[in-house]
């Protein structure tokens, strides 16, 4: 277990070339407040990392910095070796990083099917020129995208809500759609910001299961979560934050038995 954050080195399993996501001494300052201070962490392939800590620890700010919604004041973020520190969110998406938001962000005036379809087609499939000119190539691509949407809906057992608008779904369903939407991009990294908020208990279990399935299929996940049972159940490692700094990185069990972590939570 390391306390205080490791230096960024290409550790991890010998099979891969390096961490999927490398965060190196990232500081986020806005409005005169330092929300994140010199945070470093690594995300390797096929792992779920839980980002935990008391309120105001800077977890959402760090996720915002990784997702591109909040500018990084200092430090670097590398996605598969590529420097994305200054990249806008849509460019990070094309490199394989996708996130969900605390406030579930489905496209409420689009149907579930459209929510997933627009993600499946992405920016390349939604270009103005191809939408105007069209032709058989475009039709084929749209058909393929629609097929993949149906596959995903079936996989998640959500085919029967395909034609409901985002606004017509329950909180848990919307969260599932949001996650599925990210998966349509076949991302390498998925950032989940408090996905269980406002979700009914049986759907919490469902989403937990989906997270593990997603990890096994090759996607790395960072999940911000308050409910420690969830963290214990699905996270391979946890990163503990307090007052803007990374206080510990270890397995859940190790972290919970650490004096430093207890202090951070209850200080």
């Amino acid at each position: 277990m390391t306390v205080g954050g490791p230096a960024v080195t290409a550790g991890g399993p010998a099979v891969t070339a390096g961490p999927v996501l490398a965060v190196s001494e990232v500081t986020v300052r806005f409005g005169g407040v330092v929300a994140v201070r010199d945070a470093s962490l690594e995300l390797r392939e096929k792992e779920v990392v839980g980002l935990i800590g008391p309120n105001g620890a800077g977890k959402s700010s760090l996720i915002g910095a990784l997702g591109g919604q909040i500018p990084v004041t200092r430090g670097r973020v590398l996605l598969g070796g590529a420097d994305i520190t200054a990249a806008p969110p849509h460019r990070r998406a094309r490199l394989g990083l996708c996130r969900t938001f605390q406030l579930t962000s489905t496209f409420d005036d689009l149907t579930v099917f459209e929510n997933l379809l627009v993600a499946a087609l992405g920016a390349d499939g939604s270009r103005l020129r191809s939408s105007l000119a069209g032709g058989r190539a475009r039709q084929a691509r749209v058909a393929a995208a629609m097929d993949s949407v149906w596959d995903r809906l079936t996989e998640f057992d959500m085919a029967e809500v395909a034609n409901l608008y985002g606004s017509e779904l329950s909180g848990g369903q919307r969260r599932l759609v949001e996650i599925m939407r990210c998966l349509m991009r076949s991302p390498r990294v998925l950032l989940l910001d408090e996905p269980m908020v406002g979700v009914a208990p049986h759907l919490v279990e469902r989403i937990q299961g989906e997270c593990q399935r997603i990890r096994d299929s090759g996607v790395s996940i960072i999940i911000v979560e308050h409910a420690l049972e969830v963290v214990q159940a699905i996270c391979d490692r946890v990163v503990v934050m307090a007052s803007g700094s990374v206080v510990a990185q270890a397995t859940y069990a190790e972290a919970m038995s650490s004096g430093a972590v207890r202090e951070a939570y209850f200080a």
């Binding site: 919604q69 496209f107 939604s126």
Partner: protein
């Protein structure tokens, strides 16, 4: 009577173009374009100044730029491009991420600024007096037609243009691009995280809408043979908003219905009725009625008469 109807038809098609443009920008793109009418004016002025001959310098009857005497259909092309160019300029600073109410206020202010500039820089497009004597397209070639006949020919011409624009708009609406635009409207952050570029999508919608508005303006200026600031006060934009809200925001046919009800029946027909009260009373009251109609729509049926349709899909249907 025939004159009235052919005139109403031209207005209807010209206003339908505006409604489609606003529907794309606001209905699909979520851009509250309170400056819409300015883009129509850009096209109208552009068509006017390139189809008129050169002005006769200072002290002339009317002063304006260009004066290129371009023949049909070039002025319309220029009008379309003018609308698009103005949209590109305005869009480049007003389409960034911003609170929608502030964005609406900015666009309204820009339209007021432009009105102020146009009225005061007289050499540009003859200030508040506006331009007259704009040559009617193909009037030489079609000189054998009666005045009435020419009106109907023009109505047919605008119908053809409207049909073409309809095909364009309908295609874009149901296309992946249209869907991506609506996604950006619904949630910009979520759209970005799945790879869409919100600013560029909005700008594309804004410019295409601007081009359609410009085309609309060119058609109208050539029909009226004149154009002045009186034709594009800030309130005109709200007639279009009312039309699309009443008809159905987001629905390509809904906004046509709204245009028919608001722009044609509501606004135009009374002007052909005998005057009641003092001159101009009907005009001023029309805006009171538009405002009231707008409130009523927002209160009881904000989705409009023909709301945007739910795109239903089923796996079986595709096989």
């Amino acid at each position: 009577m025939s004159f009235y109807i052919s005139t109403l038809l031209v207005y209807f098609f010209v206003d339908a173009l505006l409604a489609w443009a606003l529907n794309m920008q606001f209905g699909w793109g979520g851009i509250p374009n309170f400056a819409l009418i300015m883009f129509q004016a850009a096209g109208a002025y552009a068509a006017a100044v390139v189809s008129l001959g050169p002005d006769t310098g200072a002290g002339a009857f009317q002063r304006y730029v260009f004066g290129s005497s371009l023949p049909f259909p070039l002025p319309l092309v220029v009008a379309t491009l003018a609308g698009g160019l103005l949209a590109l300029i305005v869009g480049s600073f007003s389409l960034r991420r911003i609170r929608r109410d502030y964005q609406a206020a900015i666009l309204l202010i820009v339209s007021l600024i432009v009105t102020g500039l146009v009225t005061n820089v007289v050499g540009l497009v003859n200030g508040s007096n506006g331009l007259t004597g704009v040559p009617r397209p193909l009037s030489g070639v079609l000189s054998r037609l009666t005045y009435d006949g020419y009106q109907w020919a023009y109505a047919a011409w605008t119908a053809v243009i409207a049909a073409a624009v309809y095909l364009l708009v309908a295609r874009l609406g149901s296309s992946p691009w249209g869907r991506a635009l609506r996604a950006v409207r619904d949630n910009e952050d979520a759209a970005a995280t799945i790879g869409l570029n919100p600013v560029s999508l909005r700008l594309q919608a804004f410019v295409i809408g601007g081009m359609i508005c410009g085309l609309s303006g060119g058609l109208l200026a050539e029909f009226l043979a004149s154009w002045s600031p009186a034709a594009w006060g800030y309130a005109e934009t709200f007639a279009v908003f009312t039309a699309i809200i009443l008809g159905g925001v987001g629905n390509t046919w809904g906004v046509v219905l709204g245009t028919l009800l608001v722009q044609v029946i509501f606004l135009q027909v009374p002007t052909f009725l005998p005057q009641v009260g003092y001159t101009g009373l009907i005009d001023a009251l029309q805006w009171v009625l538009i405002g009231s109609l707008w409130l009523v729509c927002l209160a009881i049926r904000p989705r409009g008469l023909i709301p945007a349709r739910r795109p239903v899909v089923s796996r079986e249907a595709r096989r």
